[in-house]
């Protein structure tokens, strides 16, 4: 008996992201993704129950990878602002290095699939960040507003800035990244 191939699993993940990025969510078909992954369309169904399952698990995989990277090397003993800086730059770097992951995520989030995601599970991946914000609020370092508002002003702009597709008017320099973080921090600091 042949055993399930870890490489094919990964190839399907990469192919899904690539195809969706190249031709869009709407035009992405199972056979195109399979072809890109170098397997038969039928083989795809040994690894995923159906197309929906393929797309959903691709999304979850991206979120898992994002969470792992963003929360890496966090030193909880540092001052709040420094922790924030660390997280913020982690995110910026990840979005800049994997614009395709983010492009996929945006298409997915705006599709009806999104409502079939267990949002609690996603939230759990990022609880450390929410905890830091709450700690900052308690310590009167961060404004006392709803956590979701903080997140919207600190992290979402990054997705725009790091995405050359959306922000093609200029090339973001190191200095500008630094400026951007300053804006993010000014927005939320007390």
């Amino acid at each position: 008996m042949r055993t399930k191939d870890e490489e094919k699993q990964e190839a399907l993940f990469e192919a899904t992201v690539k195809v969706v990025n190249q031709i869009g969510f709407a035009s992405s078909s199972v056979s195109k993704i399979a072809q890109e992954a170098g397997v038969s369309p039928a083989t795809l169904y040994t690894y995923h129950k159906n197309k929906d399952d393929l797309l959903i698990s691709t999304y979850l995989s991206i979120k898992r990878r994002l969470s792992a990277i963003v929360l890496r090397d966090i030193d909880a003993t540092l001052p709040i602002r420094d922790i924030f800086r660390q997280v913020w730059f982690n995110l910026f770097r990840f979005t800049a290095e994997h614009p395709d992951y983010f492009h996929f995520s945006e298409q997915f989030s705006n599709s009806p699939f999104f409502e079939r995601i267990n949002q609690k599970e996603i939230d759990r991946m990022f609880t450390p960040i929410a905890d830091i914000i709450r700690r900052g609020i308690t310590l009167k370092i961060i404004k006392n507003v709803e956590v979701d508002i903080i997140l919207a002003f600190v992290f979402y702009p990054v997705i725009i800035l790091a995405n050359p597709r959306l922000c093609k008017n200029f090339h973001v320099t190191e200095a500008q990244v630094e400026q951007s973080f300053q804006l993010a921090w000014d927005a939320i600091k007390l």
Copy 2:
């Protein structure tokens, strides 16, 4: 492709937005949209060259409506912050009143169609806002950073906050809207 009936034109616009919102970009078909608009699929082709043209002109129409609303009642003689406040609240109100327009826009922006939009034309719709920002920078009221960075921190978070689909953890109160504007302004003010 002659345009005789203004009502059908509008019906097709509304139907396109509604169908795309209900079943997503990927599942939206010409015949479903035509049915929703109460016309035959063939009739649709009297008003639009093809499906792409339908989607693109729907997007442009949304952007035009957005631009008209956001820039409405702007009193250029007011202080920069007040003008900003006005624009920001205009945007917030529009996104809150037309979540479907924004949902459509997001799906469209993240699709390959987006690259076929004349971006210059969109930019032109919002030049007054860019002008205000530049004036604010000159007057040393706003930080001296790239206009796109300002926009990313001031306006993009609004889309998140005003969208109950993305921000379902809490219901945004009047006070929270006010707080949010404060964050936006703190981010960019010198």
Copy 3:
């Protein structure tokens, strides 16, 4: 606008029966049926909601034709036995002339589709026959047993006899048909 084509409807009916007869219920595919009917598989869907609908309405159409033929020229004033004879020979002739209709019916009846047929509706097509049987029972001409039992012994054997596929050992002569009716009548007469 093109109008729905009565000929195509009939062509699809004939094609369905023919293909199912040639290659069997299990192997009959929409595309093979469409090809036999001389239309595109897509066209089939303007005439039938789906494959199930095609098969079910083909079955119902056969039953309707059968009912019309079998009950034709019935003279209710004749003696019971003569009416019976008339019906029985009508049925025999129809099965002999349309073995394909019966082959299709048999395959259909033994498929899970059968349970989705409104059996009452079918029964209604043949109520005149049930009425005759009941009259015969009242007049003490026919044995006083359940109508379904009468039907099973009088009419079902015909399907076998008239079907050369099932009864290939001998060619049924006129005399043998007469004999067969005698058996049927002897079975039920008092």
Copy 4:
């Protein structure tokens, strides 16, 4: 295609009958049958050359079982009518106890597979019955008509009566079974 495990052989037989009964000939697939039998699809090919072989040998197995049961306990010294009664009730009981076997047989008989069956071989299983009929004809107890006609009127109705799927209007009582045999016998007796 070596035959090692008698239990698996039987499991496959039962699974084939069960699956075909549950979802029909058309929808029955090798993998569903294998799953029902608790083996891998690949294993099935150790016991049968291919799907056709599986179906055909299932059919032959049913016929063999039927023949064994129907001809059981036949006492050739009894009067013709009593022998007939015995056979007829054997058949009735078997069809009533194994409606699934008959449902399968009906589906099979009406499929193109049927023509690939060696009909002679089937006939040979039931020669004792044909012999009895011929003896009855010689003894002037049974009408002098073709054996196949006799069979059609005596045995085929049983399949209808014993099948609750086809005869659901009433529940067959003991008395009715007795009546039915009377009809069968009246049909053929001189």
